[in-house]
């Protein structure tokens, strides 16, 4: 499966945290690419390494986190080879990021206007006055009412939704080629979530950006993404376009995630949940990382880690079931998941 023109290509990215307890592999050999102008969703539970992946692309990891290996190519440029000062000219300019917590992601002691204007002053060398004028334009673009007053407002004077709009204004100020949105709606009310998603989608089309959307919410993925990578415990377990993933999911984890969504079309007494917990990153299973929670797991699964393979021209899956070496009975993961899990 090859996408013709990609804005960013991540190959075998490995990011680890070096603590006194030893190395913790947060991201362990992750590869994907974001096709130009498209949206890639990265889905996973907390601790699956999805946020660390995005911080690795921005090269914003804090100690003791380090990129151990792999390659990140942005528009043909090797990001990991860039100097810190070169990287700064990319951040907030060509690659921007929106974070999860609008309440704490804005600096409380500077006005919204100052915080947006700063991008223009850094990347475009504008004077404060010119930058503020452009900041006003951004506030209008992200749909903040009475933008002139908001320019002089401090973050605490704005609601969560308005703050996230301001964050978006900061991120999009310099017209980035790639936007990384790390759970941009998780902290917001449901009604506001929809507004913000629509706003991001609309602006993406208007500005022709590519986007990486990090989320644990499959509903958000269905609404906004073109491609999806499902991450589990530091590795991608399934990669497909969004239609394929929802119609014919292949990996037991993906199936489990989809079936844990509440449904209204069938009578349900309780929600289906994936049994067990995400393994701790300092105590990963030897074989397939999902094996301890997988209803189909065999000895092979427990002993050897499967690779991420193309199984047809639409799906890439990291699962032994689709491999010639599979030692269990023949299964259809999607149909048999529920019965297998209740056994």
């Amino acid at each position: 499966m090859e996408n013709p023109k990609s804005i960013i290509k991540v190959e075998e990215l490995q990011t680890s945290f070096y603590t006194h307890k030893g190395e913790i592999k947060a991201v362990d050999g992750v590869s994907f690419d974001v096709p130009s102008g498209k949206t890639l969703g990265i889905v996973g539970e907390s601790g699956s390494g999805k946020s660390i992946t995005s911080l690795s692309i921005m090269r914003l990891l804090e100690d003791p986190g380090k990129i151990k290996g792999g390659k990140i190519t942005f528009n043909g440029e090797d990001l990991l080879a860039k100097s810190e000062s070169n990287m700064r000219t990319i951040r907030g300019n060509r690659i921007s990021m929106i974070f999860q917590e609008p309440m704490t992601s804005l600096n409380p002691v500077f006005t919204i206007g100052d915080q947006i204007a700063e991008s223009y002053m850094i990347h475009e060398g504008l004077s404060k006055k010119q930058a503020l004028r452009k900041a006003l334009g951004m506030l209008e673009l992200v749909g903040i009412p009475s933008p002139k007053d908001r320019l002089k407002a401090y973050p605490h004077e704005l609601s969560g939704g308005m703050r996230q709009r301001a964050m978006i204004a900061i991120a999009l100020a310099c017209n980035p080629e790639l936007l990384i949105a790390d759970e941009p709606t998780t902290a917001l009310d449901v009604t506001i979530q929809a507004q913000i998603l629509r706003l991001i989608n609309g602006l993406q089309e208007e500005l022709g950006m590519s986007m990486m959307l990090i989320t644990h919410d499959l509903g958000v993925v269905a609404e906004t993404c073109d491609y999806v990578a499902v991450m589990y415990a530091g590795k991608i377990v399934e990669y497909a376009d969004v239609d394929t993933l929802f119609k014919s999911p292949k990996h037991p984890y993906t199936v489990g995630l989809l079936q844990s969504l509440p449904r209204h079309d069938i009578d349900q007494d309780e929600l289906n949940v994936i049994k067990g917990m995400v393994p701790r990153p300092d105590d990963l299973p030897e074989g397939c990382r999902f094996a301890p929670r997988c209803p189909f797991a065999t000895r092979l699964c427990e002993e050897k880690l499967p690779s991420l393979d193309d199984i047809d021209d639409k799906n890439q899956v990291r699962c032994w079931i689709y491999n010639d070496q599979w030692d269990g009975p023949e299964v259809n993961v999607k149909d048999d998941y529920r019965t297998a899990q209740s056994d």
């Binding site: 951040r91 992601s105 600096n107 409380p108 002691v109 500077f110 850094i122 990347h123």
Partner: protein, 306 residues
């Protein structure tokens, strides 16, 4: 901001009333009869009674307090028992010497403390950080009169660079200001370090970095501005400690300031002087903390009127 200033100003009123009450009660709570003490040990009954009358000590307490306040407001803090001169004029000149000493010491401790704290925080766990923190611990633990004596011993006596005592010329300022400012610098350094370390892990610092803000600005603009808020509190409180420390520093360096004057007055049992000095110093402390409150508001827009 204007309303805020007025509100804060009004809030100082109860404090000032409290201060005057305590100062007023000092006269009555000290062991012994003030009239007896003031009239002198060899005064007879009649003289003591006259003194008591003159001081108004036979009036009810509230009358005494009212006249104390009304006199104080008019700048009349009574007369020195020893010299007979007005307390206000005795205090006047010396007060400014102490204010000067405290002001320069505060400046020094802010300057050194901030730089050391920021350097320590941004190079956390480095050798430099360790060195600064050990140094700060020393600065904090050293009694300032001892530090003063050591400084005199070395810089004034051994290598003869700076004068042993006195106040006025820049060379004379140096040792007392270092003596008095060191502890404050140490406290501010430690406070700045921990405050910076906390702020540096906030989400908005990550946002600033994600925006491509150069690290220098991330630290000095985005982080420091937030980290300063708790530091300012410490500076305000430290000023009170400084006024106390000024007593010892002035004694060590034979500076004719208010601190040393008070100590002398206590020894001489010159109560009007003690009373007046305590009142003036307490007011100064209240005023400095009022300024601290105002600077809060400038630093942190989230502080509303409450």
């Amino acid at each position: 901001m204007f309303v805020y200033t007025i509100r804060r100003l009004i809030q100082t009123i109860p404090v000032i009333i409290g201060v005057t009450l305590v100062v007023f009660l000092m006269m009555h709570l000290i062991p012994g009869d003030p009239a007896q003490i003031m009239a002198g040990e060899r005064a007879d009954e009649v003289q003591v009674e006259q003194m008591r009358d003159r001081l108004g000590l036979n009036d009810p307490y509230y009358v005494q307090y009212a006249s104390f306040i009304s006199n104080a407001v008019q700048g009349d803090l009574g007369n020195s028992v020893r010299s007979g001169r007005a307390v206000s004029s005795e205090i006047g000149a010396r007060f400014w010497v102490t204010v000067e000493l405290a002001f320069y010491s505060t400046l020094l401790s802010i300057f050194i403390g901030l730089i050391a704290g920021i350097v320590s925080a941004t190079r956390r766990n480095s050798l430099l950080d360790m060195f600064i923190m050990i140094f700060a611990l020393f600065g904090l633990s050293m009694p300032n009169f001892w530090l003063g004596l050591m400084l005199i011993q070395y810089f004034a006596l051994r290598i003869d660079w700076l004068p042993v005592s006195g106040w006025g010329s820049p060379e004379q300022l140096l040792l007392p200001v270092i003596t008095l400012g060191t502890a404050g610098a140490a406290i501010i350094a430690r406070m700045t370090r921990s405050s910076m370390l906390e702020v540096i892990h906030q989400d908005y610092i990550r946002t600033a970095r994600a925006k491509g803000v150069p690290e220098r600005y991330v630290i000095y603009k985005h982080a420091l501005r937030n980290a300063l808020i708790p530091v300012v509190t410490v500076v305000g409180l430290q000023f009170g400690v400084l006024l106390g420390g000024a007593v010892l520093t002035e004694t060590v360096f034979a500076i004719n300031g208010l601190g040393r004057f008070v100590v002398e007055a206590i020894r001489m049992r010159d109560f009007p002087i003690v009373q007046g000095s305590v009142l003036v110093l307490a007011m100064l402390f209240v005023f400095v903390n009022f300024l601290v409150d105002l600077s809060y508001r400038v630093l942190n827009k989230r502080i509303e009127l409450d």
